[in-house]
């Protein structure tokens, strides 16, 4: 089927939609291993059919042919679901992978990988399913793989949800604001979801009959909900009903005709109208909204020098502008929010493959896939989460025989839960495997010269577990099996911290390990401590600042000829920030009081001597572009209201040479 029209402009649409279908196909297929139903097969068939149809329209003949074979096979299975066995499932998965390979190739304008052999196998199996034939043996039989499935989230882990229906009095002068006020009040009780009509429509007063509904997740009682609403004039409570948790992944198939694209993931009762937007475009919006915020701040600064009379009006106008821009910024951020499902949806399939390869039996339980995060964060976390899963199965969960010997069920459980905790998202991956050996970790760390024996002795359990993320340790292949954790943990930690998150590990020997990722909802805003150094201003992310101490250089004590500053119950090494950044500093008298900012680097805490503390500011972080991104120690840049650019230091990875000490020599 040759295309007679210019297809290039449809390519990105094709890639996007075909990928969605193929992802869904893979996902549903894995779930199918729990039990085959005609509806489920129908859905697989529709996905395959859609991909084939789209590929045909694009003129991708090889893809169309392969899609056709797959569709054929699934069509046969439709009439004989009992013939759908594990080998067939494997073959279908291979076909899905091959088709994904084609889509990727199309997207990169590369030649398509050859799939004729696979197409032939699909055809053979399809033929064998004709009525009256017996299934042909197809390749050597494989040991039954562990079953992997995504289970509904444990309801008990989440506070109950209520469907709260409200009516705004029709006599109200500003029904939209009334509705919004009630919404705001309810939000003080817990988390709100699914406002119907949408919050924007509520705000605009578009309330049919004055009624709107929200879903409220709260630990409060129904009476408390009633009381809160009763405090809002002109708003009455129509009803409060407890919502029964829906399964996290809709299993029911959409009745849409096969040629229609899948409807977008719906959150509300009625599917919201959606439009596809390239992520680069969203990035562009965010950049511009950020610039607008900065520009507004700088206009405000200009206003400060105005005489009294015009200043009042000017400030008011700026306030208004600022809140509008802030609103715009928030909306752009919201548009960037994307459910973590785009990470978790791939995991059941991955778990199945890894477990099968390693001879493990695994049950993967995923909950909270609908929690949303900034797209940029979701993108960054894809690999780390997969890596944690791989490690959990590879090195955490024991082989079935070993588990039996230890009195554990032969099938290991890996739980991945995602939940929103105030303004952060917590992602936990927990296994019931062998746990990590902190003694071993410490011993190897000492052996490799990463820590001293002394340090190892006083180390807390938590610190010892974090050793597994030290570059020198986690990249060492030999640690893999002794520690119960594999390679690349340093990369996981880097990625998590790179988006402003934190990683915590807890583990019990013989009982399992939990990795806890605490993530910000968005990564574009960052809270800075501004410090002055010579004539420059630098920003230190507050998240990495442990405290500030004022001291004179003369009062520092020394440990092994290294100046140290008392902090908390111990001491931390003290350094001149100017020397760390290798810039000329202002000479300071030994008896002059200077602020020392204690920061958390990857190597531990250090105190940085600065000339002045200039305050705290929430800023829009701009990523550095070449060649500045090559400079070590810089995380980004921002522009203050005054128009002054400020570099934000990459505190976690500050390189702190030992020789750069505070004191007379600086």
């Amino acid at each position: 089927m040759a295309a007679s029209w210019d297809t290039s402009r449809y390519l990105s649409l094709f890639v996007g939609e075909a990928t969605e279908h193929l992802d869904a196909l893979g996902k549903e297929l894995v779930r199918l291993e729990g039990g085959v139903t005609a509806e489920a097969i129908d859905s697989l068939f529709r996905h395959a059919h859609s991909v084939k149809g789209m590929a045909g329209s694009m003129g991708f003949e090889a893809t169309t042919a392969l899609g056709h074979r797959l569709e054929d096979l699934l069509d046969r299975v439709r009439t004989a679901p009992h013939r759908f066995d594990r080998t067939t499932a494997d073959l279908v998965l291979q076909a899905v992978d091959a088709l994904s390979g084609h889509v990727k190739a199309a997207s990169n304008s590369e030649p398509f990988p050859d799939a004729t052999e696979l197409a032939r196998q699909l055809e053979l199996v399809a033929l064998s399913m004709q009525p009256g034939t017996t299934p042909i043996p197809f390749r050597e039989p494989v040991a039954p793989p562990p079953l992997v499935e995504s289970a509904p989230s444990p309801e008990s882990a989440l506070p109950p949800r209520y469907d709260v229906k409200l009516r705004v009095a029709t006599s109200s002068a500003q029904p939209g604001v009334r509705g919004f006020l009630a919404y705001k009040r309810l939000s003080s009780l817990g988390n709100l979801f699914r406002c119907t009509p949408s919050l924007d429509e509520v705000k605009a007063g578009k309330l049919p009959g004055g009624v709107f509904a929200v879903e409220l997740e709260t630990t409060e009682t129904e009476a408390a909900i009633g009381k809160t609403v009763s405090q809002v004039a002109d708003v009455e409570l129509v009803s409060v009903t407890r919502v029964v948790a829906p399964p996290p992944v809709p299993v029911a198939e959409d009745p849409a005709s096969p040629s229609e694209p899948e409807p977008a993931r719906v959150v509300g009762q009625e599917p919201p109208r959606t439009v596809r937007v390239r992520t680069e475009l969203l990035d562009g919006f965010l950049d511009l909204a950020g610039e607008l915020l900065l520009a507004t701040a700088s206009a405000r600064d200009v206003g400060r020098v105005l005489p009294d009379e015009p200043r009042g009006r000017f400030t008011e106008a700026i306030d208004r502008l600022h809140s509008l821009v802030r609103g715009l910024h928030d909306l752009v951020m919201e548009a960037r929010m994307t459910p973590v499902a785009s990470i978790t949806d791939r995991l059941p399939r991955a778990a199945r493959d890894i477990a099968r390869r390693r001879g493990r039996e695994i049950e993967l339980i995923v909950s909270g896939s609908d929690v949303e995060l900034d797209r940029a964060i979701v993108d960054e976390l894809n690999d780390p989460v997969l890596h944690l899963l791989r490690n959990a199965i590879d090195h955490g969960v024991e082989p079935p025989e070993e588990r039996r010997m230890r009195g554990k069920p032969p099938r290991g459980t890996v739980k991945l839960s995602v939940r929103r905790v105030t303004d952060r998202v917590v992602l936990e991956l927990e296994d019931d495997g062998r746990g990590m050996d902190t003694e071993r970790l410490k011993a190897v760390a000492v052996e490799r010269g990463l820590i001293t024996i002394e340090a190892a002795r006083v180390m807390t359990e938590r610190e010892a577990l974090m050793l597994s993320t030290a570059p020198g340790l986690s990249t060492a292949a030999s640690i893999t099996d002794i520690s119960g954790r594999g390679v690349g943990m340093d990369a996981v930690r880097r990625a998590v911290e790179g988006v402003g998150g934190t990683l915590e590990i807890s583990s019990r020997r013989g009982a399992g390990t939990t990795f806890k990722l605490s993530l910000p909802l968005t990564m574009a805003m960052v809270n800075l401590l501004l410090v002055g150094l010579a004539d420059e201003v630098y920003g230190l992310p507050i998240a990495k600042v442990a405290g500030v101490v004022e001291a004179t250089r003369g009062s520092l004590s020394h440990s092994r000829a290294e100046p140290v500053l008392p902090f908390g119950t111990g001491v931390v090494p003290a350094r001149e920030l100017s020397a760390v950044l290798e810039i000329p500093g202002r000479p300071q008298a030994v008896d002059a009081l200077s602020p020392f900012v204690v920061v958390e680097t990857d190597e531990g805490r250090i105190a940085l001597a600065v000339d002045a503390l200039l305050g705290q500011e929430e800023v829009v972080l701009k990523v550095l572009t070449r060649p500045l991104d090559q400079v070590a120690g810089l995380a980004g840049v921002t522009v203050l209201g005054s128009g002054r650019p400020v570099f934000i230091l990459d505190v976690a990875r500050l390189e702190v040479p030992r020789r750069v000490l505070v004191g007379g020599e600086a």
């Binding site: 500003q174 006020l181 705000k203 405090q231 809002v232 004039a233 009006r313």
Partner: protein
């Protein structure tokens, strides 16, 4: 004891109307302010049970003043006074922490109904 109210509005005329409404409703107006800066100062000084806050005022608008008052006292009850057509600003004030709003020109029964609800007496 009657509840103590601070009335903030840049128009003396409007302040008088609101004051009269409160007096008739059994509230005691303990202070008034004509701009946002004054409002913040008066609030700190008087610690009233409730503030009615005009949106648009010189020096410091009602939204900023509300924000500032709440920064000092997270439990402050601020009710916005707005005209029709200022919906967006009112919503911003609510975002900033205002607990309710009344629409100008104020009608006694509406103002008292809102205020009583806010104070948990309605």
């Amino acid at each position: 004891m009657s509840k103590r109210v601070l009335v903030v509005d840049d128009s003396v005329f409007m302040r008088d109307i609101i004051k009269d409404i409160f007096a008739a409703g059994g509230f005691s107006v303990v202070g008034e302010a004509g701009n946002g800066v004054e409002a913040v100062e008066k609030y700190k000084e008087l610690k009233p049970d409730l503030v009615t806050m005009d949106l648009v005022m010189p020096y410091r608008n009602g939204i900023d003043a509300t924000r500032e008052i709440l920064r000092g006292d997270g439990k402050a009850l601020v009710v916005m006074c707005s005209a029709l057509g200022q919906e967006t600003m009112v919503m911003e004030a609510i975002e900033a922490g205002a607990v309710d709003f009344i629409v100008k020109p104020p009608r006694a029964e509406d103002v008292l109904a809102v205020v009583k609800k806010v104070l948990g007496e309605g």
